[in-house]
Amino acid sequence: MISIKNVSKWYGEFQVLTDCTTEVTKGEVVVVCGPSGSGKSTLIKCVNALEPFQKGDIVVDGTSIADPKTDLPKLRSRVGMVFQHFELFPHLSITENLTIAQMKVLGRSKEEATDKGLKLLDRVGLKAHAHKYPGQLSGGQQQRVAIARALAMDPIVMLFDEPTSALDPEMVNEVLDVMVQLAQEGMTMMCVTHEMGFARKVANRVIFMDRGQIVEDCHKEEFFGNVDARSDRAKQFLAKILQH
């Protein structure tokens, strides 16, 4: 589904990604973790070409991102993305947030888009808030709407960029619950997150990044179960975040 091949990226002189290679197959849930500044958000943003990269290629469902002939808007419309700061459109109601891209990008009718949007809103447990504006919802609620907005496009894969990092602790679970449910339904997911509980529960694989490189890329059982076999950097990281 997603094939990342030898991707390198520089900001001027500074190299943020170094020769990153990995695969995400259909139905797989991959968690990307690592210290801040390790390039994990940058890597996931390369997958839907929100960030350009200078070397290598990423192929999403047979479409090459590096190919200049690729219709990027079209590709992006098939890849759902959830952001750390939700990024709902604050001037539009919740319903409009859920329908605008369906109508303007996919060309669906208003009825069809609204029907689909409200169904998904119901699924994330927020049907009663359809008429409200993003500013009137809590962070956790906004993030659930953002997930519904991405799902409304019928994505072939969902990318999550630290979806719970900007949330109050008590709102983290309501978002994770939605993500767990999605994973269990077989959605292909690539999640940058520090929620190791989530990783343990639903991830198939865990990728650990440090200084722009993929240091670990292994199955969940291997990653959490056989800590001794991990690299020193991953051990340090795990020791810190699993301490509590």
Binding site: R76, F89, A150
Partner: protein
């Protein structure tokens, strides 16, 4: 100060037909509004386009818009007006030059010059406000729109501009009032707008104080009304939970 105020002066005959001096003020106000409103339409449209261009990911387009802003905002308004009125017509092809200088009614040619001048001058200022409005939005807004598959023109029209314009209504209101006040420069190229009529009344009647007091009241009332109108617009387009209105 020993001055005999005579407010009745505005109702005295000007000696031209049935006209009283108040009619001059009404006519002057009409020209002031005609100059400012049409100039504003030009400024708002062109300024918005330029403001967008300053933020697009294309060095040539944003450079072009930047050059425009620097040119129009660093030359005094009055100098620009004289250039538009006295110099530009001479640079145009001869038929157009002749049309502008001879066929057109002098009031119309002055009107055209001042409308273009004020429109282009104010566009530079509107441009900067539109640009800052767009740049004030979180970067993630454009990213989210890209991620949903929107194309750049849609991102501006659907996502960025509706938010940016809401943010910049207060500074845009100042600019809107400025164009009404700046329209008074038209009196220097002979357009009989409010200030020119005020000066003329003062000269004809020697009631300098009354004439300028009335002009002050008219400008003040006009601008206060416009400000209240904009305040109303701001409330009208306010989004719950987005930005506070009028300092509330």
């Amino acid at each position: 100060m020993d001055y005999n105020w005579d407010w009745g002066v505005f109702f005295k005959s000007t000696g031209i037909g049935q006209e009283i001096y108040l009619d001059w003020f009404v006519s002057g106000l009409g020209w002031t509004i005609a100059v400012a409103l049409i100039g504003w339409l030009i400024a708002l449209f062109l300024g918005s386009v330029l403001g967008v261009l300053r933020t697009v990911p294309n060095r040539w387009l944003s450079g072009l818009a930047t050059a425009y802003v620097e040119l129009f905002r660093n030359v005094p308004l009055l100098v620009q007006l004289f250039i538009w009125y006295f110099l530009i017509p001479d640079l145009l092809p001869e038929p157009i030059e002749m049309w502008f200088k001879q066929d057109l009614n002098p009031a119309t040619s002055a009107y055209l010059s001042v409308v273009v001048c004020l429109g282009l001058f104010t566009a530079a200022r509107v441009c900067e406000q539109v640009r800052t409005g767009i740049q004030a939005l979180p970067k993630g807004q454009a990213a989210a729109a890209y991620a949903l598959g929107f194309k750049l023109p849609q991102i501006y029209s659907q996502i960025l501009l509706p938010q940016a314009f809401r943010i910049i209504i207060p500074p845009l209101t100042s600019e809107f009032l400025n164009i009404f006040k700046n329209s008074s420069v038209a009196s220097l190229i002979g357009l009989m707008e409010l200030l020119a009529q005020t000066k003329q009344t003062a000269e004809f009647t020697a009631n300098l104080f009354e004439a300028f007091t009335l002009a002050t009241i008219i400008y003040f009332t006009l601008n206060m009304s416009l400000m209240l109108l904009m305040r109303w617009v701001e409330k009208k387009v306010a989004v719950p939970g987005l930005i506070s209105v009028g300092g509330k």
